[in-house]
Symmetry: C2
Subunit: 517 residues, 2 copies
């Protein structure tokens, strides 16, 4: 048995049986080991950003990590942007990076780079296997780190550690995972009093695993009992939404709207979240979003036992039997007709949303109305670009579809960000994933047009215009999808879009709709 | 005047007038400044790896830096792989990365990451502008660093440094560039003696700017006088080749071939190069390629004045008037016919190579015969994936075409690596660049099949096979190119390929040929 086999066995023993991979020469022993482990599902990505984004989507939906397999420093570099999103989503993710053989590093061969530094920038844990016998312990530690403090844990695997013989006896051991810490009772008591006192001027901000399952339900009861408002972050990792679920207010992206939404608060309780701040700085605008004098208190950190803390808080408030609020019945607009526009796409997509869909929203400026309309629709999960590193939509969808093969993934994809990782379409085709991609083809970096105004720039000349428009030439998403084996069609009217979308959500396999808006 | 204007002015004053950009919100003031500087050519890339690879191609051909403009840590991360290739090619490149406003960093907003660490991994110089008044000095220092010790120099531009007012008087200053150091005469004398003594068992290894112009010609005369052999690295940054130029032996990639090629040497003189080593380590194979007992001596470092050192060495050897060797007349094979294969593509592409073409070779396993056949063909420049970070071919071509608008760029592109940065096609279409891309569509990571054998792995099962094949589904490069506005056609026979290639090299604008092999 070599180190690569030991790594595979340790992953499998720890319940990690999906690997999103783009291997190279230094990873060939790991590939050979995977070949001997049919229980490991290997999913090839044609670009590393697809592999890491898919592992993020998988981890968000499965609640347990997938592994990646990346090739040395440049391969890791290509995956970093979506690892950044994963670390911001606190997704458990075991990121495996192959490296040169240990004795070869000193020669500074062309592919050599500082993998450890690259990894640390987007990982909460980095470990380099020192040799074949260290692969098992290093893998166990990496897996434990990814799960215990949910996030990106990186294992660097030198090729001689992969190909060398393991001399320690026994089978691979599963990683030992410590239970998440429980919040001290004193803090629960303190915040129960504070919430009771603040009433409707208190808010709870839910992030990480908080906007799901028991935690979400308990937050709803606490809110019903105390009058507190419930918020989620502007870009959430995964929220459970729809009929019979507790609705959350999303903190708006524009600073003026965000500060207005939070203006009445005297207390914000953080539940797996950090204090909300502006996404970007703008001249003369604040970085902090909360009003002066608003207290900020942490109920529970993202690494702690969030459902437990909320249950105990509900108990202490006598809120266990309260009836949480349910989504307001917003009247669904009539089905639109005529030339397609952004709002029409949102209305149609929300009106025909399948039961238990997984919605991946990287629509950016487009599709914002979908969020409001889908709140009262069928139950669904909602995932966003948590770290603001664009190019996450289609990779997240790939991973979510692999984690949940019986559910439909609906991807709201801006065209500019979609171009970052369009190679994800090929993986969707190869794996026959049940993903509908709606590309909002506005043929511009529309968000930057807005942001130029926000930073005080008015008017566009030749150079700026060329930097913000994508229409010369226009991208043809139908051809791009066909090029990667994904069926696709273009819609320029509401009727056509509705036809395509209705059929796409009931058929199996990937389909892309280019919505020209 | 704000900091962003000062940066643009400093770039222009220093002769940097091309910027490959993919900006975001934190760069909007720089975009606005570019808008006020029509002398700056802004080239939009739809992915940062295209921007950095294009800046590499531009720098290699122009001999002076282009600027990039990237958006915070994730944007930089997306560009790192091609910055890695640029640093290995020692390409002068001014890499500009926007960041949050200084005062906003402490809030750890979603897009925040450790830009400085990310940049250092692939840069020889990193500087962060501390405020508007520091932008000019920081830009001057960055530009000087990129040129004086040719490589990637990174300037981090916080958005408040960009939007804040410059209070220092006067116009922007050009960066002051020190002349490259001259090699000491004692070293010249020592190596002249050593070369004379070693005769035909000596070699010179030329890298950086050495395989070009006067340096190349002088190396040829030294070789003619002393009998020394002339080598270039397995993956060179840019070599000048073809009729009436000094031919170089390329060190082979496979270790056995490389050690055989170097086996007779008793002396290797490094000219802007480092000692050749194996690209990867393999079990039981050496990392060093030179025979035991071969002396290694550095004539001149990559940052020194290479042409000067070779001229003086030639003088000392009395080689100034020697007649250097010219390419051997290898008989050109007959034009092939019938089903297309890799060799046939090479033969046809070499036979019809335009005068003064720029050849970008990321064919990897494909097209190797082209290198041999083109040695005696029309004069051309030859660029490769210096750092082994794949996904460089089409971006290099974009940059080379912008640097040399009157020359035809012929890109030999493997399909697997082409998928990494296929967004480059869109930039080629938008800028109407004179690039012919030949995609070797073998529908596999063929190099990894070879490498599995090299690392001692034989036989492929399901998981390995799925990781190395790209044929399920097959990529349709004609559709992919059309999706980005590039004309394209597929060839499955030699006749069809020859027809397409002949017409592509005489027309203007980008064209892609999918060569199914």
């Amino acid at each position: 048995m070599n180190g690569a086999d030991r790594l595979c066995d340790t992953l499998l023993a720890s319940g990690i049986d999906v690997c999103f991979a783009n291997p190279g020469t230094s990873e060939m022993h790991f590939v050979a080991a995977l070949d001997r482990k049919p229980a490991m599902r290997c999913v090839l990505a044609l670009f590393e950003g697809v592999a890491t984004g898919a592992a993020d989507g998988y981890g968000r939906m499965a609640g347990r990590p997938a592994a990646t397999l990346l090739h040395t420093g440049p391969g890791l570099a290509n995956g970093l942007a979506n690892l950044h999103n994963a670390r911001r989503a606190r997704t458990p993710l075991v990121n495996i990076v192959g490296d040169h053989a240990t004795y070869h590093l000193g020669f500074d061969a062309p592919l050599t780079s500082d993998i450890d530094s690259l990894a640390r920038s987007m990982s909460s844990f980095v470990r380099r296997a020192t040799g074949p016998d260290d692969v098992g312990p290093a893998a166990e530690a990496t897996i434990a780190a990814a799960i215990e403090r949910p996030g990106v844990a990186t294992l660097i695997l030198p090729s001689d550690a992969a190909w060398g013989s393991v001399t320690t006896d026994g089978d691979a051991r599963p990683a030992r995972i410590a239970s998440p810490p429980r919040v001290e009772e004193a803090r629960i008591a303190e915040l129960a009093s504070a919430l009771a006192a603040a009433g409707g001027r208190a808010g709870l901000l839910l992030a990480g695993t908080a906007p799901r399952g028991t935690a979400l339900e308990m937050a709803g009861r606490i809110a019903a009992k105390t009058g507190a408002r419930l918020f989620e972050e502007v870009l959430n990792g995964r929220s459970e939404r729809g009929v019979d679920r507790v609705p959350l207010e999303r903190i708006p992206y524009p600073i003026a709207q965000a500060t207005a939404a939070l203006a009445d608060l005297t207390l914000l309780v953080l539940v797996g979240a950090r204090e909300p701040v502006a996404f970007f700085a703008y001249p003369g605008k604040p970085s902090r979003l909360l009003p002066a004098g608003c207290d900020v208190a942490t109920l529970v950190e993202a690494d702690d036992d969030i459902p437990d803390a909320l249950e105990r808080l509900a108990d202490r408030l006598g809120a266990r039997q309260s009836s949480p609020r349910r989504p307001d019945a917003v009247p669904m607009p009539a089905m639109p007709s005529g030339p397609l526009n952004e709002d029409a796409v949102s209305i149609i997509a929300a009106a025909v949303l399948p039961e238990q869909a997984i919605v991946v929203d990287e629509g950016l400026t487009s599709g914002r109305r979908f969020y409001a309309l889908s709140a009262q629709g069928p139950q669904h999960d909602y995932m966003m670009c948590t770290g603001g590193a664009i190019g996450t939509g289609m990779p997240l969808s790939v991973g979510a579809a692999i984690a949940c093969p019986d559910r439909k993934v609906v991807t709201l994809q801006a065209d500019g960000s979609g171009m970052y990782t369009l190679q994800a379409l090929w993986t969707a085709a190869r794996e026959k994933l049940d993903v509908v991609v709606i590309v909002f083809a506005n043929r511009a970096y529309a968000i930057l047009r807005l942001e130029m105004g926000n930073v005080g720039v008015t008017g566009f000349g030749h150079n700026a215009d060329r930097m913000l428009r994508l229409d010369e030439p226009a991208l043809d998403w139908v051809s791009l999808a066909h090029g990667m084996g994904v069926e696709a069609a273009r819609a320029e009217t509401c009727e056509r879009f509705a036809d395509l979308y209705r059929s796409a959500v009931v058929r199996k396999g990937p389909f892309l709709i280019e919505a020209v808006i």
